[in-house]
């Protein structure tokens, strides 16, 4: 059967150019405006059908709530539509290249989502008898084996829930090791000026002071400055490798040697492990502890800002201080050591309730098994190849911060090439949105002026990289041609124009309130 087309036009008619003006109702085609649930829902409305309780709550007496909570409800179709409309205001890696340097936005395999939802993993309580969770413990054990093998370090603490939580875990182990050795006076941490903000924040969180190490002109740790600052008060250095400039620390082995010679530990921020996985083992570089962001290197989804997972691999010297719990092999199969008693007496404590981010462990393990030793090596190679390709292609118009030699998995540019154009890094980033791409990481690392850090990852095709590079080159030429207005006004094609962050911070409005003046639809009336 074919559609009846007789009697209606099948070609667009010629119209005047200005006929494409705004819609009558204020709509934007498929892009729907969406109020807050507090403006949409009803106080009596619900999207669930529950049976009536078979007993009342009169026994609670004065403990029972007497005032309304203030939660609106939506029916199921309204709920679906609300969140689907909101979702369409987000950029996502599934939509286009997402070049946030240091964040590793790569494809998230759907198989991993599927297996994480198997009832044997998702519907498993952390405290049910260990005899009923042998498969889960086996998975944790296999994951640990892969992480140890890939990093060349003998132990791993699985509990940390994110990269920063892993840093905390690593520093707490280092602190415990120093205290056990009678070196509790070591309370200083050396951190390069290019470090992630979490590094100094973590050091301060465990009560350490922070001293910055200088950077050389070619973007590496200044060995002379490091050597000068490595004194008897230093507990550890925290170095990211490959570093936040996207460069491999060439002197890494010497950095480790100097650190150990001074009686300090080498904590490596493993945020960029994806650049070397399968090719280089951090253990061979002299690293004592390193967190692994499973959501970066091993592609568990970022989920709009979490949840992540940050297991920490550790050297033999630090392993006895790792936090509970961990998996142990026994005559009756696998079990969990959950308390710092007996053999585990040196454990520094506990990072969180239960055993860590199991849902992420399943996804990360599925990712590793899918790639295998060969595929993971290819991951690093393609990630580095893609970054160098982008660097080479863009260097014609943009100035690479470190033009000499290869970069690793991300390409760093400064804003020298924008000088005199009136366009800033921020403007350039916002203009990328109009071209259909998420901006790169801006103004980080702090050591490069107007930094633009581009991490394409290995899951981009050459065609997508070319599309991206062409768009950026066109923008760069436009900036140099004096089209500053295009940039100042950007983004023009996003769901919203630039937002007033100053207003948000000056008069914080962090919750919806029925009496708050608003530009949105009228608040829900009490029913």
């Amino acid at each position: 059967m074919s559609m009846q087309t007789v009697g209606r036009p099948t070609r667009p008619e010629a119209v005047a150019a200005d006929a494409s003006a705004a819609s009558l109702s204020g709509g934007h085609g498929l892009q729907q405006d969406e109020p807050l649930i507090f403006e949409l829902g009803g106080w009596e409305k619900t999207g669930v059908d529950l049976p009536a309780p078979d007993a009342d709550a009169s026994d609670l007496g004065d403990l029972a709530r007497t005032t309304p909570i203030g939660l609106p409800g939506l029916s199921e179709p309204e709920t679906v539509r609300h969140y689907v409309r909101l979702s369409q205001k987000n950029h996502a890696i599934d939509l286009a290249l997402y070049p946030l340097g240091s964040c590793t936005m790569k494809h998230n395999p759907r198989l991993n989502e599927k297996v994480a939802r198997l009832a044997g993993f998702a519907d498993l309580h952390p405290l049910q008898p260990v005899s009923t969770t042998q498969g889960a413990l086996e998975l944790m054990d296999r994951l640990a084996h892969w992480l140890k093998t890939l990093t060349g370090l003998p132990a791993v603490a699985l509990p940390p829930k994110a990269g920063a939580h892993g840093e905390l875990c690593g520093l707490l182990a280092i602190r415990a090791a120093h205290e056990a050795a009678g070196h509790g006076h070591r309370r200083q941490v050396l951190v390069p000026s290019s470090a992630h903000g979490t590094n100094p924040a973590t050091a301060a969180f465990v009560g350490y002071s922070v001293t910055e190490i200088a950077q050389t002109a070619d973007g590496r740790v200044d060995l002379a400055d490091l050597a000068a600052k490595l004194g008897p008060e230093v507990a550890a250095i925290m170095v990211t490798n490959p570093n936040t400039c996207g460069l491999f620390e060439r002197d890494i082995i010497e950095i480790a040697r100097l650190t150990h010679q001074a009686g300090a530990y080498f904590y490596c921020d493993g945020a960029n492990f994806n650049a070397i996985v399968g090719r280089v083992r951090p253990g061979d570089l002299g690293v004592d502890a390193m967190h692994i962001n499973l959501h970066k290197t091993f592609s568990t989804p970022h989920g709009g800002g979490g949840p992540g997972a940050g297991p920490v691999v550790m050297s033999q010297a630090l392993a006895p201080f790792a936090p509970a719990p961990w998996v142990t092999h026994g005559p009756d199969g696998l079990s969990l050591t959950e308390e710092a008693v007996g053999e585990a007496v040196q454990a520094f404590g506990r990072m969180c309730a239960f055993h860590g981010q199991m849902g992420m462990f399943v996804r990360a393990y599925a990712y590793m098994r899918s790639h295998g030793a060969d595929g993971l090596r290819q991951v690093a190679e393609d990630a580095v190849l893609n970054a160098n390709y982008v660097k080479a292609r863009l260097s014609g118009e943009m100035s690479a911060a470190f033009p000499d030699g290869p970069c690793m998995h991300e390409a760093l540019f400064d804003d020298a090439w924008l000088e005199g154009t009136g366009v800033t890094t921020l403007d350039f980033a916002k203009a990328m949105i109009d071209e259909g791409f998420h901006p790169m990481t801006m103004y980080f690392p702090l050591v490069v002026h107007g930094a633009m850090l581009i991490e394409p990852t290995e899951t981009e095709s050459k065609a997508e990289l070319d599309r991206f590079c062409e768009a950026l080159l066109q923008l760069a030429r436009a900036a140099k041609a004096g089209e500053a207005e295009r940039f100042k006004a950007a983004p023009r094609l996003a769901p919203l124009r630039r937002l007033d962050e100053t207003l948000a911070a000056r008069k914080p409005r962090l919750t919806w309130r029925p009496d708050a003046p608003t530009v949105a639809p009228t608040p829900l009336a009490a029913e």
Binding site: I69, A92, G120, A162, E338, M368, R369, A392, H438
Partner: protein, 448 residues
């Protein structure tokens, strides 16, 4: 390899553009001694079918909670999650987006966070809430650190009813910061004991309700005493559904409320990922840890949302930040918020009533088991009982009858001297038949 788009021809072409002879040239900064020549000793790549087969086999060696009568709680609860929740959180735009650092193209995530913060503030009865923490236990530790910053005092008192994992997590972090932690011995119903050690040096008092033994407590009097001493009251809740029925922490005088949000929208997941709820009085806002989303307008005056007050956070303040946290539990917070939108006020209340009613049935059934003593006087959906034998043994014995009877308290706190205490939770997923099966299994096990 199915996840890698580059072809050998692409790679050759790209190397030519870079003017590199081969891929090894791009790794030349790696010291020669550390360059692995060979593949590491791990299996090679595997197809989707093989991987799924291996993972399914591992999953099959676990007994899913839904496989039979199941009564574990103690900080993680099995609730029904509507199908809509899991469908929406798997949408590409939510699942595969990053932290909303570019607000113009992240309004979906940002509006959700704003709605989430409002929901959490309403549930806890406090004015402001953040965009979530890793989980309830780390939120508890962060709350204690926040109290130290607010009061500039160094002592924290943890009630004996606080979940032992929460207490241990808090001790670990606070010890590193040099705080003094007074952790009271585990006690079923003795929240007021915190007042015995309260003094003018105390930064905060931490009480949990319902506590780890299931006991619900009105902490109003504790709040008054804490405030009189210049200390903050932190109220911890590990079962978020209880907010539907019990007085909120804010109503009882809490300054900070933290909770585990797993119960709403999130699966058990063998302990994680979960979602920490964190709310406080507005005057404490500037000392709050974690990410905050705020309302503003765009260049055309339209309402929009942004991450705000980031001068508290590590990427701006570095070593002077309020916390080192750099993420929230975004997708779990989304699941929480969707489920709560579906429930609404009426649905949450009914869900809470159902849970409580099931627990009342549970208590009635347990009271009839010979040799078993119910310890929890006032409960929401969880009850502690004392058995004549170590609870871990009884749980193993009940397994033979296909019943997972609960969590032995010794599992949480082996040194607590309460080996005979068993924690038993019921939710809306628990049936009357399940409760009968538990009573039979316990009776049989204790009769042996």
């Amino acid at each position: 390899m199915r996840y890698l788009p580059l072809t050998p021809a692409d790679r050759a072409e790209m190397l030519a553009v870079i003017e590199a002879p081969d891929i090894d040239a791009l790794f030349k900064d790696v010291p020669a001694a550390a360059r692995a020549k060979d593949l590491f000793d791990l299996p090679l790549h595997a197809g989707e079918l093989e991987v799924e087969r291996e993972l399914s086999a591992l999953a099959g060696r676990n007994r899913a909670a839904g496989a039979g009568p199941f009564f574990c709680g103690a900080g993680a609860y099995r609730h029904h999650v509507p199908a809509t929740v899991d469908h929406i959180i798997q949408r590409s735009e939510f699942l595969t987006s990053y932290t909303p650092y570019q607000p113009e193209i992240a309004q979906g995530t940002l509006q959700v966070l704003f709605e989430f913060q409002t929901q959490v503030a309403a549930l806890t009865g406090l004015e402001v809430a953040n965009a979530s923490m890793y989980d309830g236990s780390t939120a508890c530790a962060e709350a204690v650190m926040m109290a130290q910053r607010v009061t500039r005092r160094e002592k924290a008192i943890l009630s004996g009813g606080l979940h032992p994992h929460y207490a241990a997590t808090t001790q670990t972090i606070a010890h590193a910061e040099g705080m003094e932690i007074v952790r009271l011995p585990a006690a079923v119903d003795a929240e007021a004991a915190v007042l015995d050690v309260l003094d003018a040096e105390t930064a905060c008092v931490v009480v949990q309700t319902p506590n780890v033994f299931g006991v619900a407590t009105d902490v109003t009097r504790i709040a008054e005493a804490a405030h009189a001493a210049g200390a903050l009251l932190i109220v911890v809740t590990t079962e978020a559904v209880s907010f539907g029925l019990l007085k909120s922490p804010g109503e009882m005088g809490a300054d900070i409320a933290v909770a585990e949000g797993q119960s709403i929208g999130n699966s058990l997941n063998f302990g994680g990922p979960y979602v920490g709820l964190f709310a406080a009085r507005e005057k404490l806002l500037r000392q709050m840890p974690g990410r905050l989303c705020g309302e503003t307008v765009d260049a055309e005056g339209r309402r929009g949302f942004v991450l705000t007050l980031s001068t508290r956070e590590q990427h701006i303040r570095r070593e002077k930040a309020t916390s080192n946290i750099c993420t929230n539990s975004g997708l779990c917070a989304l699941a929480f918020s969707i489920h709560l939108s579906l429930l609404g006020e009426a649905g949450l209340r009914q869900l809470a009533e159902l849970n409580h009613a099931r627990a009342r049935e549970l208590k009635t059934a347990l009271t009839a088991v010979p040799g078993l003593e119910v310890l929890t006087p006032r409960f929401f959906n969880e009850i502690a009982v004392r058995l004549p034998r170590p609870a871990a043994e009884v749980v193993e014995a009940c397994l033979a009858d296909g019943v997972v009877a609960g969590v032995p308290f010794s599992r949480l706190n082996p040194a607590g001297g309460m080996d005979e205490v068993l924690l038993i939770a019921a939710t809306e997923t628990t049936t009357i038949q399940d409760i009968a099966a538990l009573a039979r299994a316990l009776t049989r096990s204790l009769g042996r």
